[in-house]
């Protein structure tokens, strides 16, 4: 069976189901979208904490991750050569807003970063151009942290994503990802900064917030009366996505970092900090992956037809 006919058979089967899973975001080339969303979120968080802790390598990491996220988004698009057209509908489309945010962020970083890390750059970080770059990147960063959850909330066809908590949850992921990126960056430069302890404290606090928000979202989906949302939760906790959820999100993203943090596995140091960051980020990736793949469309047959 060719790839096309396999996909066709799959679609025909899906169309017959009451609970049709969405496959466009997350399967096949759709995986690039998950990677793009993940990288861009982490990038914005890394930039934020790089600014807060005045940590240049964190800013560089943010820039590189955002560039990677942009490329992943392009790889996902059916028509990447038309990407610039995504600027056209900023009035209503969150994807347009995200695109503008990413463009602002990258352009601002290009103005602000080089004078910060390279000697003899034509302009200084505290020049007018440097400040302009700082402002653009900061504005872009805010958009990137905020917009992503709204992309999902605006997806009326997928009740599980349609939760008002989703944007807040995605903001928390961006913060958790940003801390993770900084922890890894410190190890790469083999330089634990004095802010490492504060970062770990913030990581613990943000992780606690993520857990509470996620639990609330699951509870809302289970009790909200929408069968498609309930089905999504089932897919996540006991269905197709369960292995990624328990293995990736819970074990890799939560249990292992907490065990490392407790000092039971290895003596605390730069390497352990980096491992915490790496596992935490991997866990966030799986969280996004499972949430996207667990998306189930609203059933089409109205109840009055089924039970008449």
């Amino acid at each position: 069976m060719t790839e096309i006919s396999a996909k066709y058979e799959q679609l025909v089967q899906d169309l017959r189901r009451d609970f049709r899973p969405q496959r466009e975001w997350g399967e096949g080339r759709g995986l690039f979208l998950v990677i793009g969303h993940f990288l861009v979120g982490v990038a914005a968080g890394a930039w934020l904490f790089g600014l807060i802790f005045n940590y240049g390598p964190g800013l560089v990491a943010g820039f590189i991750l955002a560039g990677g996220g942009g490329i992943a988004h392009l790889a996902f698009l059916g028509r990447p050569e038309r990407f610039w057209k995504m600027v056209r509908h900023v009035r209503t489309a969150w994807i347009s807003r995200g695109f503008i945010g990413l463009t602002l962020f990258l352009a601002g970083a290009v103005l602000y970063l080089p004078p910060l890390v390279l000697a003899d750059w034509p302009w200084a970080a505290n020049s007018a151009l440097g400040y302009l770059g700082w402002g653009m990147a900061a504005a872009g960063m805010v958009v990137l942290i905020v917009y992503m959850g709204f992309v999902y909330t605006a997806s009326k066809g997928i009740p599980f994503w349609n939760s008002p908590l989703h944007p807040v949850l995605y903001m928390a992921y961006a913060l958790r990802g940003g801390i993770a990126a900084l922890l890894v960056t410190m190890a790469l430069f083999d330089a634990p900064s004095p802010s490492a302890a504060s970062l770990v404290t913030i990581w613990i606090a943000v992780t606690a917030i993520v857990i509470v928000l996620f639990a609330l979202e699951i509870q809302g989906a289970l009790t909200g009366g929408n069968p498609a949302a309930r089905r999504s939760v089932r897919e996540m906790l006991a269905g197709r996505m369960a292995v990624y959820f328990y293995g990736g999100t819970l074990l890799i993203g939560l249990v292992v970092p907490l065990a490392l943090l407790s000092g039971q596995i290895a003596p605390f140091g730069v390497g352990v900090l980096a491992a915490i960051g790496l596992f935490s980020a991997l866990g966030d990736f799986f969280m996004k992956y499972t949430t996207i793949r667990a998306g189930i469309y609203l059933p089409l047959r109205p109840r009055q037809l089924r039970h008449r």
Binding site: I4, S5, K7, Y8, L11, V12, L15, R20, Q22, E24, W25, F76, L77, G78, R79, P80, R82, F83, K85, M86, V87, R88, H89, T92, A93, W94, I95, S96, F99, V151, Y152, A154, S155, K156, G157, I158, W161, G295, Y297, L298, L300, R301, P302, Q304, L305, R306, H307, R308
Partner: protein, 201 residues
């Protein structure tokens, strides 16, 4: 004016005529269905009955797919309320597919034919204007409608279960049927304002 459709579930026999007529009219590739028929069973043996629900794009008044589209490729014709896609603008991001609560949009990811040897001359003619890697959906056969003909699914329905007309005109047949026979839309709770109504079976 606002074009709309009424589908009489009492008359529909689930013959798939509309689905085939649509495929013939638009030459949609495998995996793309502008019109399709859902089948369901109801009751318990021995009093079981089959129910058919033909579905297509609802040309929603407040269309979430248009809101979600970042390029403006998904748009509404101001003069007749038809929701359409400008394929030259579509980047294939598929957010409209996630936004449509009626799952009536399809991603045409590569040129595909029904026959192993490739497109037949008829298919080639029908698909000449298709683009791959973009999203496709029903446009109420706008070209036919503008030339005074009904959409292909309406013209080919053997039981006359589909009626097409102006929802803004209170004297039109569609408006009258909706009023007299209690026409309903799918998922009215979402506030999308579908232009496709169903008459109870």
């Amino acid at each position: 004016m606002r074009w709309g459709m009424v589908i009489d579930l009492k008359r529909c026999i689930g013959c798939y005529g509309c689905q085939l007529a649509c495929k013939a009219e638009h030459g949609t590739p495998p995996g793309v269905y502008y019109a399709r028929v859902l089948k369901d069973e109801q009751g318990q043996y021995p009093t079981v009955s089959n129910i058919s629900l033909p579905v297509l794009c609802n040309h929603c008044e407040d269309a979430p797919c248009i809101e979600a589209c970042p390029t403006g490729a998904s748009f509404k014709w101001e003069d007749d309320g038809i929701v359409d896609i400008d394929h030259d603008l579509c980047v294939g991001c598929r957010s409209c597919m996630m936004a449509c609560p009626y799952t009536n949009r399809y991603f045409n990811d590569q040129p595909a034919h029904y026959h192993q040897q490739g497109a037949t001359p008829y298919e080639a003619a029908r698909t000449a204007h298709h683009q791959s890697n973009v999203v496709m959906k029903c446009n109420f056969c706008r070209d036919r409608v503008r030339s005074g003909k009904p959409p292909a699914c309406v013209a080919n329905c053997p039981t006359v279960a589909r009626i097409f007309g102006d929802l803004d005109d209170p004297t039109s047949e569609v408006s009258r049927l909706i009023k007299e026979r209690g026409g309903f839309t799918l998922h009215p709770e979402l506030g999308t304002g579908p232009s496709v109504y169903y008459l109870p079976a």
